[in-house]
């Protein structure tokens, strides 16, 4: 009778393998489970739990029709939930549910291996949500677990214990590292994420917008999220110079400031000196602004510069972006702006803020000179009872009137808005500029970390013969905001995000170190763009790197890696290397062969020596002596270079 060999298809795997796979699946999908709608998570965990229960009770597999029913119902539910089956969130949900059902179905080794590999695929989808170091570390752990469970499935005999499988998996991961490095460094890079992320991937991104209404910045200021990091070639400028320019808002409807839809772009940015050189690593914010210190002197690649000194990327920033910048601090621009342009920056909605208008006319009468007028207003802000706070009272229909003459409590957006309205009422062209102020200096990595909490709004006014100059009314009210950051400017009672508070020195230090590591990770791992790859390749000597060169280098390196692996495997197969003693004896045997004395492969040295001595008595003594030396060295446990040398010499001297 012919017995069928057990194959992947027929070999039933035991409860231990199922448990390992279940753990691998749960850990790989855990980050998703915490993000997905609760019913999907509960369903997935429930199905996995059902499988474990089956193991416990040794019950029969779930019916096929029932599984099909669950699959269809879950798909329908996902369709209802997301209105689609495609895209990041819907797709991942579907994948998680289907893998849970696969776990329920898993009986044979083939099922198990499929589940293990699909688990690895599921693991990768975590990168669609987060690309931080903790995520990568967690995923490495999950991959380790999955590989160990795949290895554990291969034992048909006795299982060697979890220590062995986990160690083997670790060794396999380590063996993969060189190949991973080669692929990472040399595989042709594509700008942005490898595959186009669906639109909903950017839903959660926060940042400045092209409008500013009361309370809009307020939300940003409570956010810990990183806006960008900047490292300077020279020293880091003083905090009062760190105005990171973002959207410039021209139009006011009585409540909301809006950026113009179309702004004339300029080819050449004014070239002032002295210049500050720095590199910005911008987090994705799904808008086009590229932030730079006032005022930028260069245009990053794939972007335009506008007349009002904004830098706009061609496409919304959806992946981390790095650009080199130069800026010259404390200058003005646009002295030659024409009248029509300035007109727009004088416009105010009619019949709003009457008291402010009246006050502006009074000021105008008192100070014909624009500069004197501005100085007077700032003095008033400074000396009268204005308060900087993140929780200002609500403002009504005439917000600027109410703010200037009644509440007098607010933060940057209130001051910027009120000041601009006042300037326009007094006939001075003015507009609101939003962006970020300051940032946290990280002494560990020597760069500046700017968070959303550093969002700020300020004003620029146009002065005859000078052009647009920056005025920060907030600085007049609360100089500490500018000099020492938002944490020191606010009263202690105001709620601040934890990361911005500066209470504990040790925590602060740890936080800075951590962020420095993250910065390096972003720069060198996530920020390994086609440009960086080109630079790296030219550094190792491939100056003209087309994809053909890349492919060549890639194949070459991979080939070397494979050859090295093969060499090691071959060496293992051969077991022992031919040692010197054996080689010399082989030489001796070849000498005898020339006399017609051929040693049989299975003939022992002593027997061969006797035979040789009988056939050629004249050689007997020499052969006996050499054989004795050989036996002593190879079988007698003797060693030593001297003895080996004697043996070598005798064989060399031996002539037939």
């Amino acid at each position: 009778m012919v017995s069928l060999p057990t194959t992947l298809n027929t070999r039933i795997i035991g409860s231990r393998e199922i448990l390992w796979l279940g753990a691998g699946f749960l850990f790989a999908s855990l980050p998703h489970l915490l993000r997905m709608p609760i019913w999907i998570s509960v369903l997935a965990v429930g199905i996995a739990g059902w499988r474990l229960l089956q193991l416990r009770m040794h019950s029969k597999p779930a019916a096929k029709w029932l599984m099909v029913l669950i699959a269809l119902a879950a798909s329908a539910g996902i369709l209802l939930q997301y209105r689609t089956l495609f895209g990041r969130d819907a797709g991942v949900s579907l994948l998680v549910i289907m893998l849970a059902l696969k776990l329920l179905e898993t009986r044979t080794q083939r099922d198990g291996m499929l589940l293990g590999f699909l688990g690895c695929f599921l693991l990768v989808t975590n990168f669609l949500h987060s690309q931080t170091i903790p995520t990568a570390a967690y995923m490495l752990g999950c991959a380790w677990l999955l590989i160990a469970s795949l290895i554990g499935m291969q034992y048909t005999g006795a299982w060697p214990g979890w220590r062995t499988t986990v160690r083997r998996a670790g060794v396999m991961i380590l063996q993969g590292v060189p190949l991973m490095l080669v692929l990472f460094l040399l595989f042709p890079r594509i700008q942005g994420p490898l595959w186009g992320l669906p639109q909903d991937a950017y839903a959660g991104l926060s940042g400045l917008s092209d409008t500013m209404s009361p309370g809009s910045l307020n939300n940003l200021i409570l956010s810990d999220a990183v806006a960008f990091r900047a490292s300077f070639t020279g020293g880091i400028p003083e905090p009062k110079d760190l105005y990171w320019r973002g959207p410039v808002l021209w139009d006011y409807d009585g409540k909301t400031w809006t950026a113009p839809r179309i702004v004339q772009s300029v080819n050449e940015l004014p070239d002032h000196s002295p210049q500050i050189e720095y590199t910005v690593t911008l987090e994705p914010h799904n808008k086009r602004w590229l932030f730079a210190l006032e005022f930028p002197g260069r245009r990053p690649p794939s972007s335009i510069a506008t007349r009002d000194m904004q830098l706009l990327s061609f496409t919304p920033v959806r992946s981390r972006m790095r650009y080199d910048m130069v800026s010259s601090i404390g200058t003005a621009y646009g002295a030659d702006d024409d009248r029509s342009l300035l007109e727009r920056n004088l416009r105010l909605p009619p019949d709003t803020n009457p008291r402010t208008n009246e006050f502006a006319q009074e000021l105008r009468k008192k100070f014909p000179n624009d500069r004197n007028l501005v100085a007077d207003v700032l003095t008033r802000f400074r000396n009268e009872n204005f308060v900087y706070t993140l929780s200002p009272p609500l403002l009504g229909e005439q917000p600027v009137d109410e703010f200037l003459f009644e509440t007098r409590r607010g933060f940057c957006e209130h001051y910027a808005s009120a000041f601009t309205v006042l300037m326009r009422a007094a006939g001075i062209p003015a507009r609101v500029v939003t962006g970020y102020l300051g940032g946290e200096v990280n002494p560990v990595g020597e760069y500046i970390l700017v968070r959303q909490a550093d969002a700020h709004a300020w004003v620029e006014i146009w002065l005859e013969n000078t052009g647009w100059v920056r005025i920060d009314p907030t600085a007049a009210v609360s100089p500490a905001r500018v000099e020492r950051g938002i944490a020191s400017a606010l009263p202690r009672t105001d709620v601040l995000p934890m990361f911005v508070r500066g209470d504990f020195a040790l925590l602060q230090r740890m936080r800075l170190t951590l962020d420095s590591v993250t910065y390096t990770w972003n720069q060198w791992v996530l920020g390994y763009t086609p440009d960086r790859q080109r630079r790296f390749l030219s550094y190792i000597g491939f100056s003209e790197s087309t994809w053909q060169t890349l492919a060549f280098v890639l194949m070459f390196c991979a080939g070397i890696a494979v050859l090295i692996g093969a060499a090691f495997a071959l060496r293992d197969l051969r077991g022992v290397r031919e040692d010197a003693v054996k080689k010399i004896y082989g030489r001796f045997c070849r000498k005898l062969e020339r006399r017609g004395l051929r040693r049989d492969a299975a003939e022992g040295p002593r027997v061969f020596a006797q035979r040789a001595g009988q056939q050629h008595p004249e050689l007997a003594s020499a052969v006996a002596e050499i054989t004795a030396l050989y036996i002593a060295l190879r079988y007698g446990g003797e060693s030593g270079a001297e003895r080996l040398q004697v043996f070598k010499n005798r064989v060399r001297a031996f002539t037939t």
Binding site: G604, P605, I631, Y635, G636, G637
Partner: protein
């Protein structure tokens, strides 16, 4: 050959004529602490040889004649009620000795044969729920008739594996047979044999055998031989690790008897038929070949590394 062993060998040679190689192997087997199986047709002197070895080594020995109605208790011993002190007393069987001569071992039923199993492997016997150690040294020298003869129960492979060596005596050559015919009856000679070895010196010799050096190159050769039996198609199944150990011990003993402190491939080749022939069985195309042919083929095909 070391002097003491030489004395033993000479004495046995004076009884069994013209079989010095087999006698040498038998002594090597005992020096390697292994059990010995002597197989051949009746009347070639198997029992005489076993007897002569036991006596010459100066060991206590018991003879058990295996018959088809032999019971395990006849070998191991039995508890008998003692009326004087009102309790059961264990009367040790013939197995409690240094050398057991299991004569015609394949004439007994498997049940009786297996009684020897534990004794051979563990040097202890368990009867009536109690485990009793056997004296040291403990050897089994078994004789058997070729299995195709009438009234035999062939030893199962598991039991054959426990014998370190199996030797065949074969017919004596004409000269030896003439000497036999001219001489005195061998049975009478047996009673005149003298022990040639002190019991302690046997233990000492066995320790020295264990210290004979087996170089990595030799072990490579040994493993190559074992692996070949496991892979080549003409063996029903390969050699067990126990067989590999037996090869090593046997080769050591042989090298020691040749006054050497290290094992040569030739030692292994010499003892190999006695050690592995009874553990191998032919398969496939070679199923008609004798076991000794198989060993010869093995030796021919495996190169000395």
């Amino acid at each position: 050959m070391p002097l003491q062993i030489n004395a033993v060998a000479e004495q046995i040679n004076s009884i069994i004529l013209g079989k010095s190689q087999q006698i040498r192997l038998a002594i090597a087997c005992l020096l390697a602490r292994g059990h010995l199986l002597i197989e051949d047709v009746p009347g070639v002197g198997k029992t005489t040889l076993a007897h002569a070895i036991a006596t010459s080594l100066g060991l206590k020995f018991q003879r058990i004649q295996f018959t088809s109605d032999l019971l395990p208790a006849d070998i191991l011993g039995v508890s008998v009620y003692n009326r004087d002190n009102g309790s059961f007393e264990f009367h040790p069987g013939p197995v409690f000795t240094n050398v057991v001569l299991a004569d015609e071992v394949n004439r007994a039923t498997p049940r009786a044969q297996s009684a020897l199993l534990e004794a051979m492997e563990e040097n202890q016997v368990t009867t009536e729920g109690e485990t009793r150690p056997l004296p040291r040294p403990f050897f089994v020298i078994a004789t058997q008739n070729p299995s195709h003869q009438i009234g035999t129960f062939p030893l199962p492979e598991s039991q054959l594996d426990r014998f370190l060596m199996r030797i065949e005596l074969g017919y004596p050559d004409a000269q030896a047979e003439r000497a036999l015919l001219n001489g005195i009856d061998r049975r009478d000679l047996l009673s005149s044999l003298q022990p040639r070895l002190e019991p302690e010196s046997l233990a000492q010799l066995q320790r020295e055998v264990q210290q004979v050096h087996a170089s990595p190159a030799l072990l490579d050769y040994l493993q190559a031989l074992v692996n070949h039996t496991r892979q080549a198609p003409y063996f029903e199944h390969g050699l067990s690790p126990r067989a590999a150990l037996a090869m090593l011990h046997g080769a050591r003993a042989w090298a020691y008897m040749d006054d050497r402190k290290h094992v040569l491939p030739e030692d292994l080749q010499t003892v190999l038929p006695a050690i592995i022939a009874h553990r191998l069985s032919p398969a496939g195309e070679t199923s008609g070949a004798s076991r000794n042919d198989l060993v010869a083929r093995l030796l021919q095909q495996v190169a000395i590394p």
